[in-house]
């Protein structure tokens, strides 16, 4: 090997290690969020207007986020937990208290979202988007009238159903059907709903939390229980996809932004929070993710079409009465095991 090539190699190596060493751009705002849940436009706009560079890392579930956060992996400035994760983090004192004076746009949030049970007064978190898990079906191939879970999991739909791959969610639907409070996830209650779950899951063809709309769009599934945003996207593509809020009961989820105690740039994080609470920016978020926007000022900027999407803004649904998830701690493991066991049968 020529001497020069060897020196080049050594230089590359050294350079790479150096880069590795100063991989910390200390000015960068580090965000830990769901995959593709913050529009790139929003991030770019933020950097443009404030000059603060942003680095984004994704997780696929709240537990993954918690696991990484608690393992000390990464000093994130902003995280995007769901309501029960906020509750858990608050209880363990792992979130920074928000400085209201730095987030004047808090006033844009609709009043019902300013007094959520898990964080009344938005002391530690601000709502990002809210949503529901409900039923979507292809009106062209599904003939039976669909009103609730019982209709979805009826024998004629066996092998044509898609559900989100979220054990907690699946268990919740069964609990609701059995009339049990959704946060009462005890071993006895799990045992009670096991036969129902066995009956249901035997008919499921696909489990997909990431993009359930794909299988519905390609016709590999005819109906399913999915996130409202996914259904809204399907509805936009083709009105043959109908949305139904299950008669047995629906719970709401709220995704939020919060600042972990290990954050290095609390002030920049608060600036970002204030930024996305602006009506025009919030509208950008809604444009991309047709979930329920908790920002009252932003909702005024949405189009008729957007507000009339039954999956985004279910008519007649009273947000203040919606049930929310609480943290179930160690039972998460039991829930996961139950669903895994049933899947095998």
């Amino acid at each position: 090997m020529k001497k020069r090539t060897k020196h080049l190699m050594a230089a590359v190596c050294a350079g790479a290690l150096l880069l590795a060493g100063c991989g910390k751009h200390d000015e960068t705002l580090k965000i830990f969020c769901w995959s593709e849940y913050i529009p790139q436009e929003v991030i770019d706009r933020f950097t443009e207007e404030t000059g603060i560079p942003v680095a984004v890392e994704n997780f696929a579930s709240n537990e993954e986020m918690l696991a990484k956060l608690l393992a000390g992996g990464g000093d994130y400035d902003l995280i995007q937990p769901s309501e029960y994760a906020v509750q858990a983090l608050m209880r363990e004192n792992l979130l920074h208290r928000l400085d209201d004076k730095r987030i004047p746009n808090l006033k844009n949030i609709a009043p019902e979202f300013r007094s959520m049970p898990f964080d009344p007064g938005n002391r530690f978190s601000i709502p990002w988007l809210a949503g529901f898990v409900g039923i979507v079906y292809n009106a062209e191939t599904v003939t039976r009238p669909i009103v609730g879970f019982a209709d979805v999991f009826s024998p004629e739909h066996a092998g044509r159903i898609i559900v989100v791959d979220d054990p907690r969610e699946i268990v919740t639907w069964a609990l609701t059907t059995a009339g049990i409070p959704i946060n009462d996830v005890s071993d006895e209650n799990l045992a009670t709903i096991t036969p129902l779950l066995q009956d249901w899951l035997a008919k499921v063809k696909i489990y997909d939390s990431d993009s359930p709309k794909t299988a519905l769009a390609t016709g590999d599934a005819d109906l399913g229980v999915v996130w409202s945003g996914e259904a809204a996207l399907l509805f936009d593509e083709n009105p043959k996809f109908q949305w139904v809020m299950p008669a047995e009961g629906v719970h709401m989820f709220v995704d939020n932004l919060a600042i972990p105690k290990t954050a290095r740039h609390k002030d920049k994080a608060e600036e970002f929070m204030n930024f996305i609470l602006r009506p025009d920016i919030s509208k950008m978020i809604s444009d991309e993710f047709p979930y329920y926007n908790p920002n009252a000022e932003a909702r005024r900027l949405l189009s008729e079409e957007q507000l009339n999407n039954p999956a985004s803004y279910p008519p007649g649904f009273d947000v203040t009465t919606a049930e929310l998830f609480g943290d179930i701690g160690e039972q998460a493991s039991k829930v996961d095991e139950l669903i895994t066991t049933i899947k095998l049968q």
Binding site: A16, L19, A20, G72, G73, G74, K213
Partner: protein, 276 residues
């Protein structure tokens, strides 16, 4: 002497009793397998020009996905990160693998067999195990996740490939070459550098290529050992793909393949020039 031994290597295929059939069979089989390997790739390329987001039907020719690709800063940054990590890992893997292969070949160490087994472990270990155990280690040692941990992780499963490739090549090394160099007054280190390494080049390059490829496409181990700033391409792609197919990814893949093919053709061209 029968015709066989008198034939040149190229013609030994065409022995009378049926290898023609054999060759046709094997050749045909190879063709089918390659078709299997390449149909999805061709599809990817075609779809990168399809004017449809969900790519279920052909809706018209467009190059807009390529345009969007070059504006997608986070994707480009992830690509950049992947290059850095794969590059650094490959360099380290080559250094460690080549030197270790040579040492193991040239000197007799106690517990040689155990060492050999140890080397084989990162090669074959299920990625999830490696990812998980490294995460546990890094957290316990307090090493923050990022470029460093990624490069360490990737180098760990890459260097055995280089080592084994070089070892294979060493099996065919004629010891008298090194002897001659030493007789001519070279130190062992010089002999290694000026005689052995050129001989080993093909194996080193093969190992390096394999190493780079594996590191670049590694998803599972990376999932456990990276962080926001060092997010690599597979992670970013998985995130994008999760929410539905994005033709920008098809465009990226097509560009990749094209770049690789061009690189290979150029390399071949230069090699041939050098030889003639």
């Amino acid at each position: 002497m029968t015709g066989a031994a008198a034939l040149s290597p190229a013609r030994r295929w065409w022995l009378p009793s049926g290898p023609a059939v054999q060759r046709a069979f094997f050749g045909g089989w190879t063709l089918l397998v390659f078709a299997f390997l390449y149909i999805p790739i061709l599809l990817l390329v075609v779809y990168s020009f399809n004017d449809s987001r969900m790519n279920l039907h052909w809706a018209g020719f467009t190059t807009k996905w390529y345009g969007l690709l070059f504006e997608n800063t986070s994707l480009l940054r992830a690509f950049h990160n992947s290059l850095i990590v794969a590059g650094a890992s490959t360099v380290l893997a080559v250094l460690i693998g080549t030197s270790a292969a040579w040492l193991l070949h040239r000197y007799r160490f106690p517990a040689q067999r155990t060492i050999g087994l140890l080397i084989f472990i990162p090669l074959v270990i299920p990625e999830v195990l490696m990812g998980v155990s490294l995460l546990v280690l890094f957290v316990a040692l307090g090493i923050p996740l990022g470029y460093t941990t990624l490069i360490i992780a990737h180098t760990t499963f890459c260097f055995p490939f280089v080592l084994i490739a070089v070892q294979a090549r060493l099996q065919g090394l004629d010891p008298s070459i090194e002897e001659a160099a030493l007789d001519l007054g070279a130190t062992p280190l010089q002999a290694f550098r000026l005689v052995i390494i050129p001989y080993l080049m093909p194996a080193i390059i093969a190992g390096a290529l394999m190493s780079f490829t594996l590191s670049f496409d590694e998803y599972i181990v990376t999932l456990f050992t990276s962080s926001a700033a060092s997010q690599t391409l597979p992670l970013k792609v998985y995130g994008m793909v999760r929410v539905g197919l994005n033709p920008q990814l098809n465009a990226l893949s097509t560009l990749f393949i094209t770049a690789t093919i061009l690189l290979v053709i150029t390399a071949q061209f230069f090699l041939r020039k050098k030889n003639s």
